[in-house]
Subunit: 339 residues, 4 copies
């Protein structure tokens, strides 16, 4: 009989709830024994619905529980730093949602602490587990496109999240573009050394209050000599549009597509297919696969495939992008780098 | 806490194994307590791998077990008739792989028996649960294409199964085209009243020994006045190609596609995407969804969505197609119909 | 300076007018000196519009004119036989619209006459000149798909032509499917030896008056051992849909597509592209290229690429298809063949 | 009989030759009576091949010829200024290839001169006549996408032109991105007010000698409040890739595609289609249509659809982009604007 990792989920919001569902219903190598949300009613409701034996509003109940091996952190970003420290101190393996923490000081400190405690930690960059991105990576590793020289990433949301969310999101570079920064490093097989960022409020005036924008474009320069760009947008009324292009010296890969159902409806006004509308649909498999791999890593003793170092590096790019946007000039990562 | 249906799987071959895996690892509403295969070694191996408490080589051990509510039959078609009878007599709900039984006499008898015993039975026409076909059905029901007037179904395998399988498969109409016959009835919202079948051996000479062909084309006439055709082929070296087109008076739906990964690789010799190669990949979701719905039907008390009547009707078309192919003339179902 | 072939167009209807325009404005190797239509007003109008020096209502004015080398016949099919005879007797090269003539007796006779007079004759199967079909042929000749074993042809019109046209059209097999019969022979590199045809009136009750149908399906058996099918329809409300698939032993080619403009419009209800609506749009290039090649053949002394023999052979298949449809049985071409 | 504009072509290189061919063989409203190239041999050869009555090596022979109404200038950009002046002084209508002239001083002067002489002038931004871009414009004018808020333009060449060309090309912004700057203005229905440019040499080290790059990215800010970006690349080994996306408040349009022939070849290694490889193939129709419209404008007395003002404005953006690239900072067009 297979061993199951006893685990807990902290934060049962938009994403945490799905993580709990996936662990409970799909991941064979894990057993969900505890859930936590500051909102007691929510914690209780989910514990009943998913038949989880224990719930709490206090994360420390989980970290102090010796029978729990792994913790999934899906509470707001502002809480990550403290929770990650507790995880390190209590010797739990940890899966933490992106972004790792709120700023680079925290990042630097948590990186050191985890190193000292040999904490096993995976960051929630689920795109790496999406079948399309994963296949692209395989092809690149296999040499199908030669050396990657240009990266193009597009992430478009159909609408802005509510003002309440934007307020605490850290801004478009840290909340949204960070996924592209990570996948760019991953597919280009190189770190980024400089970023120039542009942005504008096109649709949501409230963004200005938080020095945020609903549209941005970052120009990336990689250490390998490659370059690239990342577009982020909250204005793609037509759907949730996530794509990338990797141009290599000998081949190019286009990743992603808009189509939801594999059908086309034809009338005299044209041929139409529907479009993926949200991230839970687009990355359904990826959210499941990243957790499955996390638990397999624990069981089989290999390093998680998205490390805390990856979390820090993506964050450095995002922070540099934001700085570049504010200063209206290129920002070099050479000096800002903490690792 | 959710109730789970205690169930068993009989036959652990190509498909039965996957059904067992799905029940064990993905279906929340079922508990796999018994598995059976005539091959003891196989039954034992799977019971260990999937951590199933009981295994046997004798199906009767399952039917006589009072604590089992539902049985999944995935043994060879020739065994379906006897096993279905046992299921009816022992008051088990049953999920049976297509085709229902081996011939129309058996079909007629089993239909009567199940009616008498009020047996709950779902037939394994998984295409109805495939997200693309299901969405097409939804659109048709919603009236998006008006009245369906033409059906076109294509099912192409990349290669013939081994001679050993073909020998007992019942032939291309009963083994393969039957999926299209069912989905045609489903999408066209009408029964078939006549069929004209053509076929040829294009690649596998051994087919002739069993009066079988590796390529066939059936022309269907529906009771509604619509017509259509179904192509079946074992010769699509490029992959597993399942498509349909439904032309209505006001709209048309194209269903399916060849693409496997959502990436495209571009070189100076062109833009290429990979192609789905086999049925477990193409219908991964459908195989899971049909079982999930079967158990939900049991729990919530609704009729399974693919009934034994559907099984019989598809079989009638398949048998008529075969007869038409042998006689080289159109065969009307009006006379052959048993329901 | 390049020599120009002095030529005439007979019949200035839907297609003849376009042929005249193409010769006048695009074909460098021809000079349009005479046009003819039974309808005097039309002939006069076109002669003014296109600045053609002479017009007539009497085809004989053209055949008796010694300074004319080539004649394009685009009058109704029923007139082809007489006009082709005149062309042969007067030693004109001739481009004749499909179908060659009205029936097989005429076909046999005209074939003999042309042979005797060494008449140069090209038949208007323009699909062979369409860039997509032409490229497919090139690939097949190059061996890219091995030996062709299955042909699938689809021709769908958005609506039926008016009753007046259907009345004299010769029926769906001779008027419409004949294009697929020719292209099937061309791409499969084999003649057809038997055909089984099915058909139905789905939308236009008046079809029945002329023993015609608005939907048909032909199953073809080739001398090479390959098989195939041809669907013809007047009911594709969504547009003009011409496609083919050629399955070979080592590769498969899909030909054609629905898209008109190379743009996609995305809204929250999906991604839509427009669809080609008619044959002048779909085969714009082909209609021009077939004529250009006809005149080049004359100037450079090579055989036209679609011969009168091709015209006869396609007609044999069409006639056999019609017979098969009436008799409801397979019709073998072995006996009917006249060449 | 239709009147024909008597015209001449100056410069018979890569593009000028095609313009001469199009005028000679396809444009009904023009008559090519004179051609000119500094290279006498070339001028003579083309005059024989295309049967043009006169040729010269001296453009003044053309401008001084009273019977010539219109001149097509397709000589190197450095010659445009002098030739345009002669055209204005001699009252010829003129079609001039992009870019209008070599720098903004020339642009300013020529704009004034032409205004004074009421010179009719069309600039060779052929994308506006490409059926895909033209359809997109139609839809935008019709209001299909609401107000345009984001523009994305991609222009990728399969390889760099030879060093000799790059040397005098004016650099990637003026030689290549200028097409996107024009089409951006056209589709976004707004002028550009600021541009930030980035670039890098990825593949061709010789570019550095001329302060040029083989890859660039421009961020555009429009007067309307919209923003956008333009990628230009000489490194798309896979083909000639021209695309655009226009995001509006209510709809989005994707323009362009890579596919050359409308066929797909399927083998066990995937489904492949070929890719357009060069600009004469991609814009074949557009090069013809822009000239046809130029002559129609002359005949019918309407303003050419791409004016000298359009030429100046695109050049302003290109010059600003280059400046921004050199200075590594945003350049505002408000101050640089000359009109
Ligand atoms: N990977 C992705 O695609 C993706 C998508 C969305 C969100 N995220 C990340 O997931 C995290 C959560 O985002 P969300 O959108 O689910 O947020 P959310 O606001 O929907 O949910 C957060 C939940 O955490 C609870 N909570 C707050 N403080 C807590 C604490 N101290 N202890 C326990 N519970 C606490 C809240 O009550 C709430 O239920 C963020 O870090 C976000 O960046 C990632
Ligand atoms: N829905 C689909 O797409 C699909 C696909 C493949 C097969 N099928 C159907 O599934 C059924 C099984 O096909 P398969 O391809 O898995 O066959 P298979 O030969 O791979 O497996 C059949 C298994 O049943 C076992 N078996 C034989 N007789 C038995 C008995 N009396 N009791 C218990 N076990 C017995 C065999 O030992 C074998 O392990 C057939 O009816 C087939 O038509 C459906
Ligand atoms: N290749 C294709 O895709 C295609 C498409 C349409 C039609 N066609 C063929 O083209 C031919 C004409 O079809 P159409 O659709 O243009 O027909 P149409 O009825 O539109 O035009 C025929 C014209 O011929 C004139 N005409 C009749 N008898 C004449 C005579 N004896 N001499 C001179 N003129 C005469 C009529 O006045 C009319 O103007 C038919 O053979 C048809 O099968 C081919
Ligand atoms: N619209 C487009 O897509 C496109 C594409 C390519 C080039 N162009 C433009 O077209 C123009 C020509 O480019 P090209 O690539 O054809 O160049 P090219 O070098 O191939 O040809 C230029 C020709 O002009 C001749 N010439 C030079 N000076 C002359 C003079 N004073 N009088 C007469 N002839 C002279 C040369 O001998 C040569 O034959 C440039 O302005 C370029 O930017 C536009």
């Amino acid at each position: 009989m297979n061993r199951k990792i006893r685990c807990a989920v902290i934060g049962l919001g938009r994403l945490g709830y799905w993580h709990a569902v996936n662990v409970k219903t799909k991941i064979q190598s894990a057993e969900l024994v505890y859930i936590c949300d500051r909102n007691e009613e929510l914690a209780k409701k989910v514990s009943i619905e998913l038949d989880v034996p224990n719930f709490t509003t206090n994360p420390s109940d989980i970290f102090s529980n010796d029978r729990i091996e792994a913790v999934i952190i899906a509470s707001p970003t502002s809480t990550h730093f403290e929770l990650l420290k507790e995880a390190a101190f209590s010797n739990k393996a940890v899966f933490v949602e992106k972004p790792l923490v709120s700023n680079l000081d925290e990042a630097k400190e948590i990186f050191e602490i985890m190193k000292r405690h040999s904490t096993i930690c995976q960051v929630g960059f689920m795109r790496r587990f999406d079948p399309a991105y994963a296949e692209a990576k395989k092809r690149i590793l296999r040499g199908d496109i030669g050396k990657p020289i240009y990266f193009r990433g597009i992430s478009r949301d159909p609408a802005s999240p509510p003002e309440e969310f934007i307020k605490n999101s850290g801004g478009i570079f840290i909340d949204m573009a960070i996924h592209d920064f990570d996948i760019a490093r991953y597919l280009m097989e190189s770190d980024v050394e400089a970023v120039s960022a542009h942005g504008k409020v096109l649709k949501y005036p409230f963004m200005s209050k938080y020095q945020d924008v609903d549209q941005s474009l970052c120009y990336l320069e990689f250490e390998s000599g490659a370059v690239g760009d990342v577009e982020s947008s909250r204005n793609a009324h037509y759907g949730y549009d996530i794509r990338a292009e990797v141009i290599g010296t000998e081949g190019t890969i286009f990743i992603g597509g808009l189509r939801q159902h594999n059908i086309q409806v034809l009338t005299s006004s044209g041929a139409v297919h529907d479009i993926v509308q949200d991230f839970p649909t687009r990355f359904k498999d990826a959210y499941y696969l990243e957790l499955e791999d996390f638990f397999n890593a624990l069981l089989e003793g290999y390093q998680p495939k998205v490390t805390v170092e990856d979390g820090v590096k993506a964050q450095e790019i995002a922070v540099a992008a934001q700085e570049s946007f504010f200063k209206q000039e290129k920002v070099s990562l050479k000096t800002s780098k903490i690792l």
